[in-house]
Subunit: 508 residues, 2 copies
């Protein structure tokens, strides 16, 4: 299984057209009729495309199961968009939950995720995720991932169940997993663009056409190569948040004016390639906006983490026109983003203000840099916050007093927010940020089975093709809960790696 | 342009593989390398697939523009799902509106449609529809379509603008248009399944593979034939409401238990074929439920028309548990269906009751048969209605009195329904029906340009491929307004026919 045989290269280019151009052969076949086999530059058992959570988990699991594995990443660094994600992992039944007496279970997490999915969730896929979080957690810990020693409470979850990497980024997972892949013999190619699939005469996926030395986004850069995959190709290429034409087709409101938290490479070609060979699209217009980002910085930025760890669970968010709260700060992302997006006046956004106090920011690692880059703002008094953002002082102060009363009474009668982590906001200095949503995550994607097989438009698995993570669709329905991208990526990545490694080998 | 040349048939089967199987050629090309052209059984300028509103309009317009045209329909009769639709056509600025002093315009209709689309509408497509309704109306009248002599008011429209065929079905349009096609020389093939596209070496669509004598749903029935299309193929194959696997992928709530108003052939293969060759999918999970159908009969049935023409505009709908109204009976379809679907108790639907009086049913052509088949129920008193459906009598009677007050005051303070057509409900006998939504229309579909060109996943037109009607996506966003399926089908069918007829001819 470990043999990486080199196939003869001569005359390869002549009859290798790739699926996209293959239709040509119908009308004017130009290929050598005598040829029986594709000449691959190198053959593996499993090829994984992408290098985020799902890709790395798939590659490493396939390798653990004895497969020879190639992983290709188009960008100049491994980690994909996962590397810049917040590193928050929803685990149902973590050791720290047990230690802190937080009662949780896969069933409870499933319930939370189904609620957030608003009836659109593919429950068969969700079950694989919630049941897989604890095994995936233990597995990444084994490979050296380090988590903070406290559990966090993210919006939409009924209990605190978020484990966050020490680094507060997904890089805290992708880096150790990339290292583990390298150490265990996964062949890792960066700046290698997957251009197309290679299929055999029965339609089975048996490899990829790629460009080595590719320089994003120059389509003509790099050298064409062809790699064989005896057992399967795993697509873990992420979402299309940075593909403005395609996201606008699905949701015309998400136009050029809306920023995205994603890295520039999140352009979705992997998904588009799968769709173009007949993979069934699922719920592509379900595109999530992150409700915690700041209009004062680009991309994911520093404020997103400040809000998830401090502003929302330990502070409050108010409408600057009234000084009043306007939603449950721990509602799920869709509910919060939808509420915020209604705050438009004369065609211009009215940025809500989120703040907490000196106790609330204790765990906010991005505070220091946020202050330095002037996207988190420090105030000695509540009046100071109000004045800085043009809020009416008295109603705002009264709102804070009211909220402090809810915290003491352990009951938010205003918006029914769970208050497990909430604090009385009375310890200056205070820290405040402006908030505006950004395009964050594609719930939709290619249809897969619970075994991570890619399904075609008729519902049949496309032989030799597997997928995991954000490139797939259905699990999260209308809204993914925070911390569930890592859960999905790692759990389904592991499943895809296992399924591909044990898939019957094609003769190529 | 009228020449239907017969291409040589010999050895055709040998090198014709079709796009779906074409990938095979990459790995093991079996085709004759010397062959340069596909051998078509017959060549046309334009091939139209489907025979509903969009297909017939496209075929007839292309013919008017001088093209030779083939239209293929897989079912044993022409008309598709359009033939069993309610025949209601939203026209912005009809002669009857002018006569009755109803102020309307394409701009007002656009506003209504955008509101119903809930931010998801592709406004560039909508504009083509609203501007095209009056020309399309005049055009079908010219071909012999007859409309009722009164304008109706459907849910979500801000003014009465529905013209309905005399027959109260779309057949009142598809029949005359089919006849006009035949009379004008469009070649019409029924029981002819489009199986696949034929593309030339540049990827342009130059024809179709079909099965003549096909017997739905037997995939192996019929005789394979290959037809060429010099100027283009127009896909007007409708929605996928009857494809339960695919619709469940998009919206898992729409499972086997939910009936559909559509004919059995609405299985969406035309859409799936386009997606499989790279057409961009748009908003496929936006699937409309008709809020006016009855759980006491199958399919579209008799009650749907009863409710749209009588029950909703001239009666009221109540919750049988309370005897009270629970929504604006003229809200758009999504709002009403969503409201009704919340009425579940112990996992079972609680069917709302819709009723009107003897004046309200005057225009309801399906009344007689509805009574005969016991799906419309007649009562001499309001008490009789309440008792028959287990409703509390006093609150129900009080609700009717309240509503009558709104009608007299011309102001529905309860649910802000437009009352232009509403009547005081006090003239027995009364007629009542049970209501439960059914899967009715796919707002999503393949991406098209305002010229009806099918766009691929990168946003580029697929050469030689056009589409119109329900198979396309985006115009209606999250919810299509009543009467706008005919508007979309006829307007974009006409556009597709024109674009295809004037498309540069391929050399085939």
């Amino acid at each position: 299984m470990q043999t990486n045989e080199m196939a003869p290269v001569q005359s390869r280019r002549r009859f290798l057209a790739g699926a996209a151009a293959a239709a040509a052969a119908v009308a004017a076949p130009s290929a050598n009729a005598a040829a029986k086999k594709v000449a691959f530059d190198k053959i593996f058992d499993v090829i994984v495309v992408g290098s985020g959570f799902a890709a790395l988990a798939a590659a490493l699991r396939a390798k653990e199961e004895g497969a020879s594995v190639l992983l290709v990443e188009k960008m100049p660094a491994f980690g994909g968009n996962s590397a810049i994600n917040g590193g928050a992992f929803a685990v149902a039944g973590s050791p720290l939950q047990e230690k802190e007496g937080i009662k949780d279970s896969p069933e409870l997490m499933l319930k939370d995720m189904i609620r957030s999915g608003r009836g659109l969730s593919h429950v068969d896929l969700l079950k694989m995720i919630v049941e897989g979080t604890r095994p995936a957690f233990d597995w990444v810990v084994k490979y050296g991932v380090k988590f903070k020693p406290f559990v966090q409470h993210f919006g939409g979850h009924s209990v605190p169940r978020i484990m966050q990497t020490l680094e507060s980024t997904g890089g805290g997972i992708t880096r150790p997993l990339t290292e583990a892949c390298a150490k265990n013999g996964v062949e890792l190619h960066k700046r290698c663009l997957m251009e197309d699939f290679v299929r055999n005469d029965s339609g089975r996926i048996i490899g990829i056409r790629a460009r080595e030395g590719y320089l994003f986004p120059n389509e003509k850069s790099g050298v064409p190569m062809t790699y064989g995959a005896r057992r399967g190709v795993v697509m873990a290429t992420g979402g299309f948040a940075r593909n403005i034409w395609f996201r606008k087709q699905q949701d015309p409101l998400l136009d050029e004016r809306l920023d995205s938290t994603n890295q520039p490479g999140a352009t979705g070609e992997g998904l588009l390639k799968m769709l173009s060979i007949g993979a069934a699209p699922v719920q592509l217009d379900q595109i999530q906006l992150g409700p915690w980002s700041s209009p004062e910085e680009k991309g994911f930025g520093l404020v997103s983490q400040f809000n998830t760890i401090a502003g929302f669970p330990m502070g409050i968010m108010v409408d600057p026109r009234t000084g009043r709260r306007f939603c449950n700060e721990l509602a799920d992302r869709k509910e919060r983003a939808d509420k915020i997006l209604t705050m438009i006046e004369n065609g211009k956004p009215v940025y809500p203000i989120c703040f907490t106090d000196s106790k609330g920011v204790e765990k906010a690692q991005t505070l220091k840099n946020g202050l330095k880059y002037n996207v988190i703002h420090k105030f000695d008094t509540l009046e100071g916050i109000a004045k800085a953002f043009g809020m009416p002082v008295a109603p705002f102060v009264k709102q804070v007093e009211e909220f402090n009363g809810y915290v003491k009474a352990k009951n938010d009668t205003q918006f029914h927010r769970p208050l497990q982590l909430a604090i009385v906001l009375d310890k200056p200095p205070f820290y405040a940020v402006k908030v505006w949503p950004k395009v964050h995550y594609c719930m939709g994607g290619a249809a897969i089975s619970p075994k991570a097989e890619v399904l075609d438009v008729m519902g049949k698995p496309i032989p030799g093709l597997f997928a995991a993570g954000e490139v797939t669709g259905g699990a999260h329905g209308a809204s993914r809960l925070g911390g569930c991208a890592i859960a999905d990526g790692l759990c389904f990545g592991r499943i895809a790696g296992e399924t591909a490694a044990h898939n019957k080998a094609a003769s190529i």
